[in-house]
Symmetry: C2
Subunit: 231 residues, 2 copies
């Protein structure tokens, strides 16, 4: 008996690729007309993932600072010069303004009548709050890795959310477009729903959208998820 | 420049006294027609406060368990017998079903366009989620003492909320009907708004509703607060 749904945000609920590409175009103000922003954003996101997986010393690092540092490396890799420090700071704020996929608000609205809806994001709490307020995402609660002091897929992040919801893992379904996230949750006893996001990395990207029997639900978007859950 | 409002929940946003009295009447099913539920709820709440202030050993205790234990003592004090363990468990759940004061939903709705709205409650996260979902309280985020591991008025609870909001204390206004809560927040540099709740302890209770210049705003309810903040 599922009582709550936990949602990944960056990629699953929001289209970071188009949002950040658009922001790069805006911030660069046409000074880099030939710049390959789609590839820049893919490398930027990959650099973020690598940083999250790297061993860290004590203390929490904000995801904003992780993105800021990863941007410099990604720009170098792409041979894009001429963005000032202020430009780079501004561009990094794009990750706090991610737009939802078009099915997200109507899908969540349908699901909200039957389930408690919460985020479980690796983004900073303040970023998830900003994204959600701007987009009108109707969460009942916002949980983020920052509250556990460790990033997904560390078990402590999922357990934190279950504790705060006051529910057993079997009463909670993790919803994500990333299989590593679902596998970690599933291994702890959470139900799992895979949502395919073929454009997660843009038109030229390679998103893993293959449905798999290892998940309890495979859905094409949040409206399909709502339909499969009887909402 | 205030960017976010932090709200106390039990008493400030919700009318615990009438909710819990009604639940006591329901759970006791007329078996205690002469029972003084208004006084029972006042003693129960006082017992909860005393427990929160008592020195604790290591580890977090859920507020649900604090209320459950305080109920036994309050019933004894009031000479009310005959409620079974199951009745007492059921009655304790009343604190997860608190009804908002009538100005709260319209007031928050007006404030939400201009400010980030979050809770900062000593209640369990899951209780605040349940109360808010049931009542349709339009928070942008739910923060609770449980996330800091200490209860208000410990400074770490307020600092946790500021960190998660990504804001400085001066950018945040604490809203409460309890002066100890506002004084703690104000001492850390938060702006403060006192909201008078004359019926917090019922018709026979003695709530402190005196406005004071020590707070940045004194308001009669959330609609008055919205008006004073220009919403």
């Amino acid at each position: 008996m599922i009582r709550a749904l936990l949602f990944d945000v960056q990629g699953t609920a929001t289209d970071f690729h188009s949002t950040v590409c658009d922001e790069a175009t805006r911030v660069s103000a046409g000074r880099h007309p030939g710049a390959g922003w789609p590839e820049l954003v893919r490398r930027w996101r990959a650099g973020y993932f690598a940083a999250l997986r790297a061993p860290r010393g004590g203390g929490w690092v904000s995801v904003h600072s992780v993105y800021r540092r990863a941007l410099d490396a990604a720009l170098d890799d792409c041979g894009i010069t001429g963005l000032s420090g202020a430009d780079r700071d501004e561009l990094t704020l794009a990750w706090r303004r991610l737009r939802p996929w078009p099915d997200v608000v109507p899908g969540l609205t349908r699901l909200k009548g039957a389930y408690t809806l919460a985020t479980l994001s690796n983004a900073d709490v303040s970023a998830v709050v900003d994204i959600s307020k701007r987009a009108g995402l109707p969460w009942d609660a916002i949980f983020a890795a920052e509250m556990a002091g460790v990033f997904k897929p560390d078990a402590a992040a999922y357990r934190m959310a279950a504790t705060y919801l006051g529910l057993r893992p079997a009463e909670i379904m993790m919803v994500a477009s990333h299989k590593y996230d679902l596998r970690a949750a599933g291994g702890l006893g959470f139900a799992t729903a895979f949502v395919a996001r073929p454009l997660e990395f843009g038109a030229g990207g390679e998103a893993d959208v293959a449905y798999s029997d290892e998940f309890d639900v495979n859905a094409s978007d949040f409206l399909d998820l709502a339909a499969q859950l009887g909402c």
